[in-house]
Symmetry: C2
Subunit: 221 residues, 2 copies
């Protein structure tokens, strides 16, 4: 038995005009053909825009790449699942018998999808401005924690600065292999720092280099 | 020399409170450090949401996958570049000397990025509702052309229906290879129809199957 939905409304600090919208948002596809997948599609787009606009206004000097990276860290499933856990959203999920048995109410993707669906439901129940305020309030701790310093820098920049601070030679990046058809290539790149090597795969050379630098930082920093 | 910007405002059917926003939206990164990349980031998120909400409301029975596919067809670079050409946006672009020489004002990615930036600029200059109306008006011909039939169906479904209509045996899909680390896997899948084979690579088995079905359809349909 789920606890009464009024408790969740209190936790969300939002009163639904049409409570069925919230019920839909909490219904996983394993429980019903009428589920939260469409609301999740809408909520995902809302979240992306609301966070994009917030970052755009807050960081007037940040490049498009920096804004994208910051947004990615805020809207990824892991962050959303953390927020969903703070709201105890899992207690109100409607799951099918299989997902219930396997503890689906704790699973990251189910929690993050449900939270996106709640965002979509609040939008449909109110308007863009109300939904935006709700999302920014939900994220308040994450947004205050965002430092304008390191998170704005990509792994290659951070690696370079880390090595320079230690007066060590700079890294080199080598493309080891390019796989796949021209429209769906994967790049395998290594990052070399005085004998140490990390390799990474990515859908572009730049992405693979960044990932190899991130792995190198984890190893040496 | 670009034609006067007032002509573009007339073509856009939008009068900017702050015309510098439109100028920024038309400035490619090859022309100035103050360029349209940040506005493009914002405009991309706006476009995704506006189209998502439109499709959500118009197709109440469509699945999340169908909505995603429809949206992808509307917001892809090719579609945006077509719309930018209708507006003759290329005539007002500010490009660096290299891009000018190589005809950058005709290039698809430059046109589509600039149009996204214009969407971002209109939003900043007005509000969400004005921007949404502008985008839906821009897309009016595309939206009336959207049939609710075939575009809602994925390639595997269309291939199956095509074969059934011809009373031919149904396709089989085989995973030939899984590459890469668990967090960045690529799937290579073949689609087999009475001796014909197409293979495709994708970041999930489902995506690779759909792509192999699409290739098969191109071959036999």
């Amino acid at each position: 038995m789920n606890p009464p939905i009024a408790q969740l409304c209190a936790a969300l600090d939002y009163r639904f005009q049409t409570p069925e919208r919230l019920e839909d948002a909490l219904t996983h596809r394993s429980a019903s053909a009428r589920n939260n997948e469409r609301l999740e599609f809408l909520g995902d787009a809302l979240l992306n825009l609301i966070v994009a606009e917030y970052l755009f206004q807050r960081y007037p000097k940040a490049s498009e790449g920096e804004l994208s990276r910051l947004r990615a860290s805020l809207v990824k499933g892991e962050t959303l699942a953390d927020l969903a856990r703070e709201l105890k959203l899992g207690d109100w999920l409607r799951l099918g018998p299989g997902e219930l048995k396997s503890g689906g109410y704790r699973r990251e993707s189910i929690l993050s999808d449900a939270l996106e669906a709640v965002i979509g439901a609040i939008y449909l129940d109110s308007d863009f401005s109300t939904c935006r305020n709700w999302v920014l309030h939900l994220y308040r701790d994450w947004l205050t924690r965002l430092s304008s310093a390191n998170e704005l820098k990509d792994p290659k920049t951070r690696l370079q600065e880390h090595l320079q601070a230690d007066q060590r030679p700079l890294p080199t990046y080598n493309v080891l292999e390019i796989r796949g058809e021209p429209h769906a290539q994967s790049f395998i790149v290594e990052c070399v720092v005085t004998g140490l090597r990390t390799t990474a795969i990515g859908s572009s050379r730049r992405k693979a280099e960044q990932e190899s630098a991130r792995l190198m930082l984890e190893r040496i920093a």
